[in-house]
């Protein structure tokens, strides 16, 4: 326990406290930070890029959760079946997990190029004649959500697949004797049995989406205009383009608090505190 705490203190808590301290300074990454008290914190709510970025981050988080959770759950349960071909399909599905986030972003960036990518060929059939998916401020965010879905759903699917295989078969056998249909079994047995997995997966999605960065950075860079400039990206730009390290630190603190808060809310809503076993035969 002690070594783990020590490491967490040095590499987890320490930097957060450092950032918290820097958020009260004006610092360009050069020379000495100058203490400015609450200036950065007063400027935050007035900054449209911050409020807009926060709104976008929350929308992105909600969309990511709403797309990934149901799909990963259904596919995961399906892949938990014992038929051989499912293993093959499952394996193909997990391909994105083998690629780095940067590679995925570059790949999709190339596919979505309006003149030379797949977007130019497919666009006309889906009402985007000039292939301008990434450059349209009404579409760009949804494109990002789709890429994130493609990238991360297999991971959550893997969680659900493993958990679904743990559900005792006797439950289903009893339900079959009682005359339950497949849908009923799914909603009355599978979903309740997977509750903890849903919570864990949701926390990962929510916290992940709050701090999402590389996909947006590499595919749109926050554009067109500021249509996809989520808060973590704005933080990066403030820190490393504008060299406003103090201000960027204040944004970082907001992100830490927000991610932590959202994770807590997710756990609380799902009644995680009632740590009761759902397993037959276990106490």
């Amino acid at each position: 326990m002690a070594p783990a705490l020590l490491f967490f203190g040095i590499f987890g808590i320490g930097p957060v406290l450092g950032v918290f301290g820097l958020s009260f300074t004006d610092w360009r990454g050069l020379g000495d930070p100058v203490w400015t008290g609450l200036d950065n914190w007063r400027a935050l709510p007035q900054d449209q890029a911050v409020t807009g970025g926060l709104r976008l981050s929350l929308i992105l988080t909600a969309l990511c959760w709403a797309t990934q959770t149901p799909m990963a759950l259904i596919f995961g349960v399906w892949a938990a079946g014992r038929q051989r071909f499912r293993a093959v399909v499952g394996a193909v599905y997990f391909m994105p997990l083998l690629l780095s986030g940067a590679a995925i972003a570059l790949l999709w960036g190339a596919l979505l190029d309006p003149n030379f990518g797949l977007a130019a060929d497919i666009g006309p059939f889906v009402g985007v004649p000039d292939g301008n998916f990434l450059g349209d401020r009404n579409l760009a965010l949804y494109v990002i959500v789709a890429v994130i879905l493609w990238q991360w759903m297999p991971f959550h699917m893997l969680l659900y697949q493993a958990a679904a295989r743990q559900i005792p078969r006797s439950l289903y056998e009893a339900a079959m004797i009682d005359g339950a249909g497949r849908a009923q079994m799914f909603f009355r047995i599978t979903v309740p049995q997977l509750k903890h997995t849903i919570v864990a997966s949701s926390v990962l999605i929510v916290v992940g989406a709050m701090t999402f960065f590389e996909t947006v950075f590499l595919i749109t860079g926050g554009g067109p205009g500021t249509a996809t400039r989520i808060l973590p990206l704005h933080m990066y730009i403030q820190a490393f383009r504008a060299f406003e390290m103090g201000y960027a630190s204040a944004i970082a603190v907001v992100l830490v608090v927000l991610g932590f808060g959202l994770a807590l809310v997710t756990i609380w809503v799902s009644g995680y505190s009632r740590m009761t076993s759902q397993r037959e035969g276990a106490s």
Partner: protein
């Protein structure tokens, strides 16, 4: 207003940003071990030339008391961040590559750059070896802080002559002629101008030229000097109205916001004739050579200056763009005299300048017209050099000249104006508030 101690600040920063202390690859930072670190970018063409001068210097000065120079290179994108963090730390470079202007000025303000003025006064022939407008960019508060070390990069139009011929078009000499070309090329189903709008710095080229042609170079000079109301100059507002009009009439096509520069997409559009023209720095020719060699060799690659505005105040001979890149010396360099000696001996030397010319660059030293004319493909470098020499003013790239924070807001606001999400008046107000 209590400054924290530098040691704690650096530590906090290193922790906060998740950065380990910056150590140069293969080097040991500025140390007293008799080496002088020169930081530059990874560049397959330039670095052999630099290494040659470094080797020559090291050979000449191989005594026990002499320092040895060492070249340390970085990738382009992370370099600015690395430099920013390293400058104030004990691991700072001795000589560093930079962009001049506001980027350098912030280091000067922090007292981290060596003032070369005395050395330049003592060696006027070295100072005068460079084009004056290019030297101006590293003169801050009447003191000199850098030496040009790369080619000059004024922005101009490039076009696909085959597309122009097919449409029966001529390179425009006035802005109205440029506007008339929109209909000509749309009839041919060709985008008039390729604009890599996914990279906001490409929008700056249009803005900075229009401001110069509409209001003259004084408008940006006032912005650069931080004068009150400079951003609200009528020329700035008119420029923003003009770019919105250009977007409206279809000068850049419909999907320019998704076109990127880094992957060669914009270059390919021009090379393949899907677009007729592009406004870009001279690096366009190198990009064309790499991404569209057939087009580059075909002789269809033409160029012309940014056209004149009939009722504008700006001289159509004025140029805009990055004047050059520079080497500056850190204030706490282990041996600034050795650094000065190396810069003075080699940066304007025949062998280094010839090397630059050989790489397709246009050096910023005076009196090389004949040399440029003699090279293969010398037509474009000669034209560019003449335009640079004859330009009444050379306005530096705004985003490198201004304070990084202001430059960042500006580029974001450009993309909002082009997208019609921000009005020209709002742009002027917003920038005035930021500066």
């Amino acid at each position: 207003m209590r400054p924290l101690s530098p040691r704690h600040a650096t530590l906090a920063a290193a922790m906060a940003l998740g950065l380990t202390a910056v150590t140069a690859c293969g080097g040991s930072g500025a140390s007293d071990d008799g080496t002088l670190e020169i930081w530059s970018l990874e560049d397959e063409v330039l670095n052999p030339l630099l290494q040659e001068t470094i080797d020559a210097y090291n050979e000449e000065n191989s005594g026990d008391d002499d320092v040895q120079l060492e070249l340390v290179t970085f990738q382009n994108d992370p370099y600015k961040e690395r430099l920013q963090v390293a400058m104030g730390s004990p691991e700072h470079p001795d000589v560093f590559f930079n962009w001049g202007g506001g980027n350098l000025a912030q280091y000067v303000e922090a007292g981290q750059v060596y003032d070369m003025s005395d050395h330049m006064d003592a060696n006027p022939e070295f100072r005068d070896a460079f084009i004056p407008s290019v030297m101006d960019v590293v003169v801050i508060d009447d003191a000199t802080y850098g030496v040009p070390m790369l080619g000059t990069q004024p922005v101009s139009f490039f076009y696909n002559a085959a597309v122009f011929d097919a449409a029966g078009a001529e390179p425009p000499e006035t802005f109205d002629e440029l506007l008339d070309l929109v209909e000509v090329f749309e009839a041919e189903d060709v985008t008039p101008v390729a604009l890599p709008g996914a990279a906001p710095w490409t929008l700056l080229m249009w803005v900075s030229y229009l401001v110069d042609r509409i209001g003259g170079p004084e408008v940006y000079q006032a912005i650069s000097d931080g004068e009150d109301g400079a951003w609200e100059d009528p020329a700035v507002v008119e420029t923003m109205e003009t770019v919105q009009e250009l977007v409206d009439v279809g000068m850049f096509g419909t999907n320019y916001t998704a076109v990127d520069w880094d992957g060669g997409q914009a270059t390919t559009l021009v090379a393949e004739g899907q677009a007729a023209m592009i406004l870009m720095g001279p690096w366009f020719t190198q990009d064309a050579e790499a991404n569209a060699p057939e087009f580059f060799e075909s002789g269809d690659l033409g160029w012309f200056p940014f056209p004149e505005l009939e009722d504008g105040a700006g001289d159509p001979a004025n140029v805009v763009g990055p004047p050059s890149n520079y080497f500056s010396i850190h204030a706490e360099a282990s041996d600034p005299d050795a650094a000065l000696e190396w810069l003075t001996e080699y940066m304007a030397s025949d062998s280094y300048v010839d090397g630059l010319i050989g790489s397709g660059a246009v050096p910023t030293v005076t009196g090389i017209d004949d040399k440029l004319a003699e090279t293969d493909d010398g037509e474009f470098p000669t034209w560019l050099y003449e335009r640079t020499m004859e330009a009444p003013t050379f306005t530096p790239a705004w985003d490198q000249d201004l304070d990084p924070g202001v430059a960042e807001s500006m580029l974001t606001n450009f993309s909002l104006v082009f997208e019609q999400e921000m009005s020209p008046e709002e742009f002027a107000e917003s920038m005035e508030a930021t500066s």
